[in-house]
Amino acid sequence: MNSELPDSVTSRIGVSQTRRYQVTARDIRRFAQAIGATDPVHSDEAYARTTRYGTIVAPPLFCQSLTYDEVPPEQLPADGSPVELAVPIPAQRAVGGGSEYTIERLVRAGEAITVTSTLKDVYTRQGKSGLLYLVVVETRFAAEDGQPVATEVATYIKRV
């Protein structure tokens, strides 16, 4: 199964990091612009008050903007890839493989979100051009009352 993986990798599976962010209307507006979402419920408070939400809400996958830890640049891998993927495997080239994203409710401007990032799994698969390492990271997003807002399980593919 995972015979290619050293103990230094398997011992990290299940390890979590937690951070907390205050979400602002500006964060939501910028995320909406970046994905090309033009619905004014993401940017116009007066309009948003007339909707069922009563305030500015984020696009459904907004919590992706809270996923990667903002470590100082010198702590990033040489390719700038997120530290969440930086497990000690003999493969450096990373690409995004896939995602399973669950939305409990839309994030509102002004609320604090607690982010818990966990290395869920690392496994290998034989690809067309050699051995692939798949790194699975789960990120849970919770509101101040502890209730879940969203969860993403993302798979990254690393090649030698």
């Binding site: 970046a34 994905i35 090309g36 069922r52 696009p59 996958l61 640049p73 080239r93 995004g96 896939g98």
Partner: protein, 145 residues
């Protein structure tokens, strides 16, 4: 266009969703890397991307997911919300190329307490290459009684 309510009420499945065409450019990739604080060089340096065997800088996995989310929420409007979305990246997408985001409603849960729809979604580039494919679950808001 068949509305979400009409699909829930019994329209013959599958029901195709209105296609969303997007053409991400370098500016959009830059903005998305910035708002997600994704500093991975394959999204901004063509030299680095090519050195890693990629055709050019590549559209982020997460941004592809947001295009699919826009496909779904654009059709839903105020009728409901996206509850689950899963997708796999099957081929690299590069800036300047048009991506056609498509989907079909393939199932419905008519339970009045939790009405929902299940969809298949995909992104195809201008050459017909399948860039991403996935599934989604939508929940419809209860109608006022």
């Amino acid at each position: 266009m068949t509305t979400p309510r009409a699909v829930l009420a019994g329209a013959s499945l599958p029901v195709p969703l209105p296609e969303l065409a997007v053409t991400p450019d370098h500016t959009q990739l830059f903005m998305f890397s910035a708002v997600t604080w994704n500093r991975h060089h394959i999204h901004y340096s063509k030299d680095a991307a090519v050195a890693e065997g990629l055709p050019d800088v590549v559209v982020q996995r997460a941004l592809l997911g947001n295009f699919l989310a826009r496909l779904l929420t654009g059709w839903l409007g105020e009728a409901g919300e996206l509850r689950e979305l899963s997708w796999k990246v099957l081929s690299s997408a590069t800036p300047g190329r048009t991506l056609r985001c498509q989907g079909d409603v393939i199932g419905r849960e008519a339970d009045p307490a939790a009405p929902g729809l299940r969809c298949e979604v995909r992104i195809i580039d201008e050459h017909g290459t399948l860039i991403a494919a996935g599934k989604a679950k939508l929940v419809l808001h209860s109608l006022p009684s």
